[in-house]
Subunit: 265 residues, 2 copies
């Protein structure tokens, strides 16, 4: 884990109300590592395991964590689902299957909003995920205050454990990013608004006209506009094409470079 | 793969405008399998690999696909990024890093809406993902029409390959689920209505690549790329410029006309 990340992790460990990821009976070290990695991707650091299968801590656990080993080093291990959440106030459990239990069922997106509100109100949040093959038992589910069910293909509903964590963590991170308007970076801004990253400014009219006049003159000299009655239409098509493109200053320079090179040959 | 899923897959293979997932230089069979699984989770079935590492098809490829083996059995293998998208109209590339290339940068959510609109308009969509360690090279990125960057922890931005696919596939599935309910959102509406009426259809990848290859050859022959060490950078700038422009079929014809005339003089 990069030093910066360790610092963040240490800081966040001290914050009591960061969401805790709880894996009930996880079977495969590879998946536990992959969960740690995707947690770090989405700025989550508190991981707890309930009765992980013997031998879960293997080389592949660390290799699949891919640098998020600090999360593995600081995780908590518990011998029952109840014990893993003793200090928490509100538990969301994730399941693809419909259950007989009558609980609120949220999408990842609405759960993320709900989590934001609860955290702001000082509640400590847990996110409970079941074992790879079997998911959460009804007994385990009974600890949950709400259910999160992701929209998935009903014909193929079983998400890999780390993918299930990914979807929830992604939505929570996105909700947080929206909420924290104070810390939006320039790149975030471009992203959220769907704007292109401008590295160079658009060409102004003067630069554009200069280029088009040069092109017209060049093509005229080379006898491109033939027959001459069609010149206006041909030129309009060319202008319309370049006009539509929102050429940047750099584009104009590239185009000048190409055309000047070709006619000087 | 369950029988139901095979049926769905066969049905969808026939639909020309289902998004295609393209993995450039994937290294690990486990990840390719995991990508197939999460594709099935979110109802995507078309997978293409560009130069997968030798030995990618292993036991673990099938075990991590966990039942989505039909996707592995029907994937396409290509020897270049360009060849993998010959029949496609619009390519989104995913990257965590900021690049110098000026392209539209979308969040997974806004990309999903954009995909929906393009698919409704009959465009064939590709989603391009880079290799595990290295991501997409600038050359590979130059094939993209738009960039998708997921909001992630800037201190730990590198998503596992299957997780990167997961986030995009999840957002696309969610957008589709909304669309299927007939609930077009306000922002979708604005988008569709805001689009210019196309007089002529956009150039497809094949036409675009044909033009770029012609231009590269021409400029090479005319000694444009000088000094030769800068050729790649210069060519990427040219590609980025034309790529950004959403050239129509007619534009390509005009550009061919201009360049052919100038070099034949």
């Amino acid at each position: 884990m990069p030093k910066k990340l360790i610092k963040i992790a240490q800081k966040i460990q001290k914050l009591n109300n960061e969401p805790v990821i709880i894996l009930a009976n996880p079977q495969l070290g590879y998946n536990i590592g992959a969960v740690a990695r995707v947690m770090a991707n989405f700025d989550l650091y508190k991981l707890r395991l309930v009765n992980p299968r013997d031998g879960w801590m293997a080389d592949e656990t660390y290799s699949s964590a891919s640098g998020a080993s600090g999360i593995l080093d600081h995780l908590g291990i518990f011998d029952s689902v109840g014990a893993s959440m003793n200090d928490l106030d509100f538990i969301y459990a994730t399941t693809a299957r419909r259950r007989d239990l009558i609980k609120e069922v949220l999408s990842p997106k609405s759960a993320a909003k709900d989590m934001m509100i609860r955290i702001k109100n000082g509640q400590k949040i847990g996110l409970l995920f079941g074992a790879e093959k079997s998911g959460l038992s009804n007994d385990e589910l009974s600890y949950a205050d709400a259910i999160i069910t992701s929209p998935v293909n009903p014909e193929f509903a079983s998400l890999n454990l780390a993918q299930a964590v990914c979807v929830i963590a992604y939505e929570f991170y996105s909700a947080k990013a929206k909420g924290e308007l104070g810390r939006v970076t320039e790149s975030d801004k471009g992203r959220t608004e769907g704007l292109p990253l401008e590295k160079t400014r658009n060409a102004n009219k003067n630069e554009y006209i200069h280029f088009i006049e040069f092109l017209e003159k060049t093509l005229d000299e080379k006898g491109f506009f033939h027959p001459v009655e069609k010149k206006n239409m041909m030129l309009n098509n060319i202008k319309a094409m370049f006009q539509r493109q929102n050429l940047t200053q750099k584009d104009i320079k590239i185009l000048f470079g190409i055309f000047k090179h070709l006619i000087d040959e």
